[in-house]
Amino acid sequence: MKFKGITSTVIAISFGVLVLAGYIFGYNADGSLSLLGQFQLIILNIAVILAGFAVLVGIFNLLLVHTKKISQKQKGAGYSIVLIVTLVITFLLGLLAHYVPIAAALFNGAFQYIQLPIETSLMALLVVTLTYASIRLLRRRLNVLSVIFLVTAWVILVGTAPWPFLGDVPFFSDIVRPIIAQIPAAAGARGILIGVALGTLTTGLRILFGSDRPYGGKNG
């Protein structure tokens, strides 16, 4: 077990350093791809292939979770049956799609006429969810930040939405909204993004140092 941890750590750190070096020294001074750059491409291509296999493992895990739900007669087991049946049907249609034209049509139809409308409906549901969440926000967390958040959201909404018979709202649409969106909102967003970038950098370095090991083994 200990050997496994050490091996995975050594492999992860070595390939992490090589990929990082590929990003930094991936190009020669004349703009051509360097040896490190080529090596990085190969490693990333292997990662993409492994990610494809990971999807299969993930789907097997999904089947396992829902089979367990059905066998233990847990709450919502009926939905699990529907999920497994549709998963099997879609999987078979996907396999046959290259050889049988009707299977390809059914496969595309499943996405176009079932999955897409359902996901769009969920997106529409978000309008209600977010409106309700905004109302709850003041009840749950009544502070200056929450008030600023809601007032800004309201002002931007008033300045952006096309109002019936009115169109743009004078003052809000042409003065307040652009000022808020282009100065404090853009500055804040860039500040947050710089913070996220710095966090990303230090998280990556902690993993390269072997201090955080999300791939197994004890954290160092």
Binding site: V48, L62, T202, F209, P214
Partner: protein, 249 residues
């Protein structure tokens, strides 16, 4: 600037960060780290304590950050937090559940939970505790909602790369009357979670969460290095603005 020069600049920033982190970690090895208080993390600690006491479950949703993309960092930060929380709740009756919307991330979450289960008294590992719930944003959310609703969850942590679908997860958690902490590297999701989650971590606080739950010298060093680099960037921006105003740039 050519790619080569940009590469050298990148190397300089990474080298400086690495030296800062290692140096600060060495300096802080013997002293206990002190952090500024983040109320959301304080409430998270209390919620995790309740999970152990009342025999309920912890749910960590890791988002959809693919490992070969820049969004992987938030997913890895989520895995670090999951690992610490799995160890913290190992005294409880039920192991945590991790849901994700990316297959490789789901496999890593299973591995993380397995490592965490070794710290528990029972030592039992449930392979269905780390789950892939969907591969598109809304199918991921739709798949994770039954977990929040039906599995005796009392604390939900949404940490990783999300989009607007995070609102559906936070809403489901609210309906189930559970504690929710939300955090994402995505600006839209941060705004959505600020409004819909009980507690939200903003910006780089996401990457600090693991350090706050189980602080070690390297974590403290990485947070201090972030602060130093932030001040450096502020300095560069201010100098750049002054030079621009003066007409030099």
């Amino acid at each position: 600037m050519t790619n080569f020069v940009l590469g050298l600049v990148g190397f300089g920033i990474i080298f400086l960060s690495g030296v800062l982190m290692l140096g600060l970690a060495a300096l802080r090895r013997k002293s206990s780290p002190a952090f500024r208080e983040i109320p959301a993390i304080t409430r998270l600690r209390q919620a995790v304590g309740r999970v152990v006491e009342d025999g309920t479950r912890l749910h960590v949703s890791l988002g959809r950050g693919a490992l070969a993309t820049p969004q992987s960092a938030s997913a890895l930060a989520g895995l670090t937090l999951l690992r610490h929380l799995a160890e913290l709740t190992s005294a409880g009756d039920k192991p945590p559940i991790a849901t994700s919307g990316e297959a490789a991330l789901a496999i890593l979450s299973q591995d993380t939970l397995q490592m965490g289960s070794q710290a528990s008294a029972q030592g039992a590992y449930d392979p269905t505790a780390g789950r892939l719930t969907g591969l598109t944003p809304f199918s991921y959310a739709a798949g994770a909602i039954p977990t929040i609703r039906d599995e005796n969850i009392s604390t939900n942590i949404l940490i990783g790369n999300f989009g607007v679908e995070a609102a559906l997860l936070a809403d489901a958690a609210e309906r189930a009357n559970t504690f929710t902490l939300g955090s994402s590297d995505n600006l839209t999701a941060q705004a959505v979670l600020f409004a819909s989650a009980q507690e939200a971590l903003i910006g780089e606080e996401l990457f600090a969460a693991g350090a706050y739950v189980n602080a070690r010298p390297i974590h403290y060093a990485s947070l201090t290095a972030q602060d130093i680099l932030r001040w450096l960037i502020i300095g560069v921006i201010l100098v750049g603005a002054v030079l621009k105003l003066a007409g030099i740039l």
